[in-house]
Subunit: 218 residues, 2 copies
DNA sequence: GACTCTATTCGTACTATGTACGATTGTCAA
DNA sequence: TTGACAATCGTACATAGTACGAATAGAGTC
């Protein structure tokens, strides 16, 4: 009984709101994410949230900034391409952890401090590697397009592994009849038991980094 | 006066609904796109639309399928990499014509016939080039990640060209003070008068196609 | 022309959502 | 105790998607 009873509701803060928002979005997805549900998850009322964050948009901005905070910055003590690999692997993991994030990362204006700081670190890495400004622009566009695009495909894949796979195959064979290449491709590759789309990530990333390496040397 | 007065309202069809929906989304963006506004644009009432398309989701699915229909399939009579270039240039143009589309292209389930047919054509092109199934998977993931990612960045760029650029620069210099690389980069590159982000598209695409070419040879 | 029958259109109304506004409560300094 | 400010919340409104069923229209038959 020193200060407060233990059942006393914790004071709300912007941080706590964002914590709850991330957890909720992870569980139910960003479409189903509403202020009312968030309030319930936080054991408070909708309008209390608005004292700490100005709007739902602001909340989502904050969530995206949090995701950037979770992505490792490129380490400074290794070769530039390994540094970029580290940050891209970390980025992919964060985007898989928060499947709602991938579509939002590039389509949001209003970057937060973590977002800016992250970009700053990546640009610093490329600059330190001796990239020209022009090549840096190319490189960053290329790298992030790939990372976000890959994450997007990964999070939208039809239920990997499990009993439903069989049904899926049957539905496919009916609907895909008019599309021979597509049918053949999915049958031969995507639907194979051992298929692990995430493992493919490295191939494309290596290809891009090799290409950039070549471009920076010439 | 032959059959009908000329002011008679045209009969609604799914196609006409989608025509109107695309045009409306082009004008006001996908966030502001509502069934009520669509009905107004079509000179009809909200509930009339639902006779032809089952839901707003179905409408958006249809719109996305339309965008795929606008993208040129890789021509069969040129080298595979040139064929892919043709289709990627066409895709970028379509995504710029319909700025709302880029975030949706990869994040939609329920592909329509045009979508399937398009993918079939691309896979056919890569197969004809002698790509293994595995390399095809890599290639397609890589190529489309880049195209969509690039389009996304392009459509979200802060108002290219114009008077506001100056204000932007000033805001930047204040907010970006803690981020030296970012500040330097934007000042040196993005905000330069002649900067044309779209022109950068070819660089990354070439890099990817070169890499794939090398991978297919080894 | 009158009369169906079906395809299409639309009026009404319900539910869910973001959030404006102002009242209420909690906390601490004086 | 008494303000004063920080934080919470009740109520209510506007805007969304769309369920339901009534209204209408057009084409084909008699």
């Amino acid at each position: 009984m020193a200060r407060k009873a233990e059942t006393t509701k914790q004071r709300l803060t912007a941080d706590r709101v964002l914590d709850g928002a991330m957890a909720l979005a992870d569980q139910i997805g960003i479409e189903a994410f509403t202020i009312r549900k968030l309030a319930e998850a936080l054991e408070t009322k909708p309008m209390s949230i608005y004292y700490h964050l100005a709007s739902k948009e602001a909340i989502i901005d904050g969530m995206v900034d949090r995701v950037f905070a979770e992505i490792a910055k490129p380490p400074l003590d290794v070769a530039w391409d390994d540094a970029i690999r580290v940050r891209c692997d970390s980025a992919l993991k964060a985007l898989v952890r928060h499947p709602w994030a991938a579509p939002l990362m590039e389509s949001r204006t209003n970057p937060g401090p973590e977002t800016l700081s992250h970009h700053d670190a990546v640009l610093g890495c490329l600059a330190a590697a001796g990239f020209t400004t022009e090549l840096t622009a190319h490189a960053y566009a290329l790298i992030d397009s790939y990372v976000y695009g890959f994450a997007l495909q990964l999070t939208n894949l039809p239920a990997t592994g499990g009993v439903e796979m069989q049904e899926l195959v049957e539905m496919m064979s009916v609907h895909l009849a008019p599309y021979p290449h597509l049918a053949g491709f999915t049958a031969a590759h995507v639907l194979q038991p051992g298929y692990d789309f995430a493992a493919e990530f490295g191939f494309g990333l290596n290809l891009i980094l090799d290409g950039l390496s070549r471009a920076s040397r010439s």
